[in-house]
């Protein structure tokens, strides 16, 4: 059971203005535990759609998707939300933190969603906040932090549930190159600790930090 992600012949198309647009064409991808891959593609290549499918936020039209042993295609909407919570740690380009909550309140959120008690959730979250180096800022709000700090906070939030997969969408896209490097070295460290990472990016230099690079062109992965 080493396969974390297994995509088989995934198709996805959208209908825009009565025109059917096939965004993903027969995608096949297998990622095993401890893998660190990058999916490289220009804008419009379908990488966001692929990320949404892998992230269980959207469902494929055809094909099979198995996430950590769960057949995603047969999941109900509610089961999908449980999958997102338990199996996937999202890291977004724009961090997507909740502005009115402090770092701690943001980071414990995924654990509270699991109905963990605030006490348990806090002790777990504090560990990860220390790990990403934001301990002194624990009661600050996102807008009081720099971009890099916000992204580290988002990483802490992604890690608290010890997900099977870290799914990062342009994680350095909003950061300057120095800060971007810091985030990438944090990714390296997380991968060394055994985390499975999929990074989606348009930047070849960023992609080079991963172990394997896949290219997505017009919905075809190779």
């Amino acid at each position: 059971m080493n396969e974390i992600v297994s995509l088989r012949n995934i198709d996805k198309s959208y209908t825009i203005a009565n025109e059917k647009l096939q965004v993903l064409k027969h995608i096949n991808l297998t990622i095993t535990k401890g893998d660190y891959i990058a999916i490289l593609g220009a804008s419009g290549s379908g990488k966001s759609t692929l990320m949404n499918v892998i992230g269980c936020m959207d469902t494929a039209d055809a094909g099979e998707y198995c996430l950590d042993g769960v057949d995603v295609g047969s999941c109900s909407e509610h089961e999908l939300s449980v999958l997102r919570n338990e199996k996937i740690g999202f890291i977004f380009q724009k961090y997507h933190l909740i502005p009115q909550y402090t770092i701690l309140q943001n980071v414990i959120l995924p654990l509270l969603i699991q109905r963990k008690s605030r006490l348990d959730a806090t002790s777990i979250a504090e560990e990860y906040i220390k790990m990403v180096g934001l301990w002194e800022r624990i009661s600050h709000k996102p807008n009081e932090l720099s971009g890099g700090q916000q992204q580290r906070m988002a990483i802490a939030r992604a890690l608290v549930t010890t997900p099977a997969l870290l799914l990062a969408d342009e994680p350095t896209g909003a950061l300057d190159s120095q800060t971007g490097k810091e985030i990438l070295s944090l990714f390296q460290k997380l991968n060394d600790m055994g985390n499975t990472i999929i990074m989606i990016t348009h930047d070849t230099k960023v992609a080079e930090h991963s172990k394997r690079i896949f290219h997505l062109n017009d919905g075809v992965l190779n």
């Binding site: 936020m57 939300s81 999958l83 997102r84 977004f92 909740i98 509270l112 969603i113 008690s117 605030r118």
Partner: protein
């Protein structure tokens, strides 16, 4: 998510948006206040009616002139003591009946000239109309027969002119050319349902008023009687009608009514008033509710991204629905409590108006329930909309 955590999130959101919450709850605050005032006014009206009728027995019947705009005061046939005697003789259902007529005259009391209501009455008035003498004596049979110049004063007149009602006994007042001796003072009544306010009236024997020309042409006599029991009211009224029919030239000028009917009519109109007021309050609430819905829609729009994040992190539909719904209910509870608190300030002010109010815990509870229900009902749709958002669409919303 645990309910306590959802509530904690709502708490943070509400505190973050203090001014918005305050403005939103304004509709609910006003609605709550309106409902409490409306119920207090309705209740006050009912209590006032109950108080007014409390010393009026349902067996009372009235023979009144049916006023019409083209009534000719010169030619209209007046009820007199003759008629009354006949009515009584022919009617075994009637216990007693008296005649009275009301006119307005300039009266001099202790040197002060003022217009007063003069009520001429025949024997039996105090028993039938429940007017008790608190000081001095009622008219004697002799006073009535001999048309003596004696009066009984209403409580307020006596206490205003003589400070203590007992001081009035034996004093004289002047009406027109003659002096009249005060022989009694009525008990305080605080009501005016008999067609006049006893507290502000001067009572005089009917014969005295007639002999001294105290009645002008507008002082049309009416009769007030007591039926033996409420069961006989119908028969009594029919019998009186037939007597009047042959005794008066035009008996259609008179209507015979019973007090029970009046009580029912007054109660019905009070209830009508209450319903009217409640419907106004309901409209206020609907407007307030639409306000909440509007603000909540804006709030859902503003926080679409946040909803997207919550969904991406795996928050269930139910929890998102609950968060927005309870946020609305929270605004309702807040607005309701503030409204109830404000009613404690507003109700005492109503005392300065003529509107009778009776504050009640019931009113406050009803208003609170209304506030919370309105917030819940109008909050549901926006909350449902929020819960139905697709995570990717919500996340990418700009």
């Amino acid at each position: 998510m645990r309910l306590i955590e959802i509530l904690r999130m709502i708490g943070i959101n509400l505190v973050q948006n203090k001014s918005k919450v305050l403005l939103t709850s304004l509709g609910i605050i006003i609605g709550t206040l309106t409902i409490i005032l409306v119920i207090a006014i309705g209740q006050g009206g009912e209590e006032q009616i109950a108080a007014q009728f409390s010393n009026m027995s349902a067996e009372t019947i009235y023979i009144n002139m049916s006023y019409s705009p083209n009534l000719n005061y010169e030619t209209v046939s007046h009820l007199n003591e003759e008629h009354l005697k006949q009515i009584k003789e022919e009617n075994s259902y009637l216990r007693m009946i008296y005649l009275r007529a009301i006119s307005y005259k300039m009266v001099t009391i202790k040197g002060d000239k003022k217009n007063f209501t003069i009520v001429g009455v025949t024997e039996g008035y105090s028993e039938i109309s429940n007017l008790l003498i608190t000081q001095g004596n009622d008219f004697s049979e002799e006073d009535m027969l001999d048309a003596k110049r004696v009066v009984v004063l209403g409580y307020n007149i006596a206490s205003e002119a003589f400070f203590e009602p007992e001081n009035a006994i034996g004093e004289f007042i002047r009406i027109g050319d003659y002096q009249y001796e005060i022989i009694g003072v009525l008990e305080k009544k605080s009501e005016g349902l008999q067609g006049f306010s006893p507290d502000e009236s001067i009572i005089i024997p009917f014969s005295t008023a007639e002999n001294n020309d105290l009645f002008d042409k507008y002082a049309i006599p009416q009769a007030v009687g007591l039926v033996i029991s409420t069961k006989e009211i119908k028969q009594a009224i029919n019998r009186i009608q037939s007597t009047l029919d042959y005794m008066l030239e035009d008996s259609s000028m008179y209507v015979i009514e019973d007090a029970g009917g009046r009580i029912d009519a007054a109660t019905a109109s009070a209830r009508m008033m209450k319903m009217l007021l409640i419907s106004i309050a309901t409209i206020v609430f609907v407007v307030g509710g639409i306000g909440i819905m509007n603000v909540l829609f804006v709030s859902v729009k503003e926080r679409t991204k946040e909803i997207g994040v919550l969904k991406a992190l795996g928050t269930s539909k139910r929890d998102i629905l609950l968060q927005f719904l309870l946020e609305s209910v929270g605004i309702g509870v807040f607005g309701g409590i503030v409204g109830v608190a404000m009613s404690y300030v507003a109700l005492p002010f109503m005392k300065y108006t003529d509107i009778p109010v009776a504050a009640s815990i019931n009113g406050q509870i009803v208003a609170l329930i209304f506030a919370v229900t309105t917030a819940g009902l109008f909050g549901f749709y926006p909350a449902y909309k929020a819960s139905e958002l697709k995570p990717i669409d919500a996340l990418n919303y700009e």
